[in-house]
């Protein structure tokens, strides 16, 4: 991240953060599934000011042929930020960052989807970030998991995207934009909430082993909360008449 701005003060004197949150407090998160009639499965996740929409198509025959795998399905993720999602307009289209996030998201999702059930097929996941405020890859992966569940794709578990980081030498949960830009470290993780496995992990900046452990403790705690919101969102759509 854009570190090095050591003179920016990110913690208030009473220990709260600039937006008033406690250090282990997450930004509010909402989720809804089945929002796009044309997709096989879809979801929208708002996390703080982030808005992520995910759509799932498939499984369908994988095209072009060269990406087909004879023994399993491929998960094809396309992460894209809308040009209007940030304060500086983003040039539309693929860039290095979106390729990277697409790749790590695809690998995280492939670890939970039962890909061996669909040889030669492709499962397309489209993640569109409508508004960005740090933590879009986490919001994106959470939305993608919900969309996959909504599409009825068999999975071992859902992946929950959460992040912790370090600002002013203190470990905090769920960095917002200022904390991400001027903070010292960021640790986004994809967690399988039922088994506690980790599907992806990235780190920007430096953390000591102790700080890392605190980050992960916060991340697991937040993952539980988010997981419950995801379950509620899935059940809210269908549990009406049971």
């Amino acid at each position: 991240m854009m570190g090095g701005y050591g003179d920016v003060k990110l913690l208030n004197d009473d220990g709260t953060r600039l937006d008033g949150r406690a250090i282990d407090e997450m930004r509010p998160l909402t989720a809804e599934v089945g929002i796009l009639p044309a997709a096989d499965g879809s979801a929208i996740v708002t996390h703080g000011l982030n808005v992520a929409i995910a759509a799932v198509y498939g499984p369908v025959e994988a095209h072009p042929r060269k990406i087909q795998r004879q023994d399993r399905a491929v998960v094809d993720v396309r992460y894209n930020m809308a040009p209007f999602s940030t304060s500086d307009r983003i040039r539309p289209g693929y860039n290095r960052r979106s390729r990277e996030i697409s790749k790590v998201t695809a690998e995280a999702l492939e670890s939970v989807v039962l890909v061996e059930r669909f040889p030669r097929a492709k499962i397309s996941v489209e993640i569109e970030i409508l508004a960005a405020e740090a933590g879009t890859r986490c919001a994106g992966i959470t939305a993608a998991s919900l969309a996959l569940a909504d599409a009825g794709i068999p999975m071992r578990d859902m992946v929950v995207g959460v992040a912790s980081g370090k600002i002013d030498n203190i470990v905090v949960l769920d960095l917002d934009k200022a904390e991400d830009n001027y903070g010292q470290a960021d640790l986004p993780v994809g967690i399988l909430p039922t088994t506690g496995e980790i599907a992806f992990l990235q780190m920007d900046g430096d953390l000591s082993p102790e700080e890392y452990n605190t980050c992960m403790e916060y991340n697991f705690k937040a993952a539980k909360e988010i997981h419950q919101i995801m379950i509620d969102a899935l059940k809210a759509k269908y549990d009406g008449g049971a």
């Binding site: 096989d40 499984p59 939970v112 040889p119 097929a121 009825g152 071992r156 269908y238 008449g241 049971a242």
Partner: protein, 230 residues
């Protein structure tokens, strides 16, 4: 609801949710046995049948199985075979040897072209999920008149009812020929008032098919109790 599911509380589960132990039950469709636990792999309703726990998915793509009656739409024609979209992951392949006509090599297009709708049966599904269709069999044919609609494939059994009772009742009430493919496609042939009634029934399945009250709602709509047994 029918049979074993009657009276049982319907439980909605999400992927990854632990739904029981594998010590006394075995895992059915939509359930994965992991160590001592059993986890749901799909969003759906838990169903316990004797010693098997399975999850009926709420939403899923059709997976062809051999013997299924399906309604397909021709997507491509080659010299000696047709490709039909059956709503599964892969197109079904209909070789001319399994068509109901004597077709000369190169003349396939004269019998069926892109956009034609067929009633076919799944002949074979191999381990890489290639699907071979057949039109040799009683009633299998090219569908010419009528309209096509569709429902999620997991609701097909709800629309048909036990031993196709709902389907028969619907056909009688609407005076239409109604064919429901296992892949969720529906073919309706009859006059416009009849088609309208079937369309309403299809809307009802789409909206309320997963509910316990569906059977009653459908019976109310088509004006008689199927079989009189419920």
């Amino acid at each position: 609801m029918n049979g074993a599911a009657e009276g049982a509380e319907q439980r909605l589960v999400t992927p990854g949710e632990v739904i029981g132990t594998s010590l006394d039950k075995s895992a059915g469709i939509g359930v994965l046995s992991q160590g001592e636990g059993m986890i749901a792999t799909r969003l759906g309703w838990v169903r316990e049948n004797n010693d098997t726990i399975s999850v009926d998915p709420i939403n899923s793509r059709y997976t062809p199985r051999s013997g299924d009656l399906v309604i397909g739409v021709i997507e491509a024609v080659r010299n000696n075979l047709w490709f039909a979209d059956v709503l599964g992951p892969f197109n079904g392949l209909l070789p001319m040897s399994l068509a109901p006509w004597k077709v000369e090599f190169g003349a396939a297009r004269q019998f069926m072209d892109v956009g034609d709708v067929i009633l076919a049966r799944v002949q074979e599904v191999d381990e890489s999920h290639s699907v071979v269709l057949t039109m040799k069999g009683v009633g299998l044919r090219k569908l010419k008149e009528g309209i096509m609609s569709s429902i999620p494939m997991n609701l097909v059994s709800k629309l048909k009812g036990e031993n196709d009772e709902n389907l028969r009742a619907l056909s009688t009430a609407s005076d239409c020929r109604v064919i429901v493919g296992e892949n969720g496609r529906i073919w309706i042939d009859g006059d416009s008032t009849g088609i309208d009634l079937v369309r309403k029934a299809i809307d009802l399945v789409n909206k309320e098919g997963h509910k316990n009250t569906f059977q009653q709602s459908l019976s109310d709509m088509i004006g008689n109790t199927p079989g009189g047994a419920e």
